[in-house]
Amino acid sequence: MTDFFKLHFFVPLAAVLGLVVVAYVGVQANLQLLFGVVVPYMAALIFIEGMVYRLIQWTRSPVPFRIPTTAAQNKSLPWIEKNLGEKLDNPETTKHVVGRMALEVLAFRSLFRNTRTELRQDPDHPEGARLIHWSYKWLWLGAIAFHYAFLVVILRHLRFFTEPVPGFVYLLDSVDGFLQFFVPVVYLSGLVLLVAAGYLLLRRILRPELRYISLAADYFPLFLILSIAITGILMRYFYKVDIVAVKDLALGLATFKPKVVAGIGVIFYIHLFLVCVLFAYFPFSKLMHAPGVFLSPTRNLACNSRWVRHVNPWNYPVKFHSYAEYEDKFREAMIEADIPVEKES
């Protein structure tokens, strides 16, 4: 019998290594046009089309009810006051919903509230275990470090797609490289990205309960992003390529005047191909949590079910039997039994 973990771990690993080999062999066979121009444009097209397709698919699902998963007091009697935190946790108005969404999108608030349940040795009864719930912040820290490092890395890459390069890219460049060690200067975001993604991978491998629920679709994006980071770091610090030629190629793509530029090392094409695969894979994978977080019904709706009526669009007509109809039917028997009636006849 095939081991579940082996199947779901080694198949995506082999897939990513296979992609590296494909790019390597392709460039050795002088397919620079394919890997430098055709594949990037195709990946961008698949990314855009897939994104629009998935969002239209999502928007065809009705969200008839509010789902107030909340940790705070709902609107109640006027003398029960709510402070700002409670207003953000249980928003009544659009303004506070925007606040809750901002915290969710920019600060990963839901992950910050992550708790872990564990059996720990009880200090009072060393022979027994005690079930404890504790606030577990490491996942939040790994996730937020990973996402912001990735954002900085992507924004830094704007220097290849713009001419002249906007000022904030220079600012980012100097802040990111402010330790000024090694030549070229080591970017901290690259290291943070690698360490954080490595942590996110290791927690899936090392924790048995996470390994049990981790699928190929969880490992593949991690391997892909890790391999992109590793090839990028190798290219910047160790197997250098002609960076002016790289920008020439990138600007050609960005201005829709694509050209094949000679003399770029093969590691660049491996890096680019892996990025293209990531873009093409994005709309059909768990990475769609990026737009999905904006559409979370538990986060993006005001908890106003107590004072606004939300009608389910697929409610079937319910056959009501009103009290007036009931009385019409049993009036005579009710009068006979001295039961008070609203209408005498």
Binding site: T162, Y170, I243, K247, K257, G265, W314
Partner: protein
């Protein structure tokens, strides 16, 4: 029978008929438009323009004085294009920490390891040779924190 909900007491309802339509379309499309506007915004200013890559100029007086066969850098062109910063860093370490200014290039040719006296001797056009490409790829090397572009300073002194 299939389109009715069932429980252990039997059939109790028709399967709901959910209307096939776009719900909250204005938010979705607004979001999509904002997303693509933000993502493509860096590309608008140069859309459809052909931007030529900078070509370092090699027609300085010092290079023109050399015979055709002597017009060689301390390392081959492809190596220098990708790795010149590494070479300069090695030179700096060798000179500053080891006091060693001898560099032997390919073919056993000896050079003095010096940015100002060897590199800038031939490539006296810093603006066209160094800065042009550095600006193009938005790198700000720290060389010029200590080293001087001598040609400019001499011209000013005169």
């Amino acid at each position: 029978m299939d389109d009715k909900y069932k429980n252990e007491f039997g059939v109790f309802a028709e399967r709901p008929k959910v209307e096939k339509k776009i719900y909250d379309g204005k938010y979705i499309f607004l979001g999509l438009i904002i997303f693509f506007a933000v993502v493509t915004s860096p590309l608008w200013q140069n859309l459809g323009k052909a931007i030529p890559a900078p070509v370092p100029k090699l027609d300085t007086p010092a290079i023109q004085k050399l015979a055709e066969k002597d017009r060689k850098c301390v390392q081959p062109l492809a190596f220098m294009r990708a790795n010149h910063m590494q070479l300069l860093d090695t030179w700096r370490t060798e000179v500053v920490r080891g006091g060693n200014r001898d560099f032997v290039g390919p073919g056993g040719v000896k050079y003095t390891a010096s940015l100002q006296n060897t590199c800038l001797d031939c490539h006296s056009n810093k603006a066209q040779f160094c800065d042009q490409c550095h600006n193009y790829v938005a790198v700000t090397p720290t060389c010029w924190g200590c080293h001087l572009d001598m040609t400019q300073k001499l011209a000013e002194a005169k």
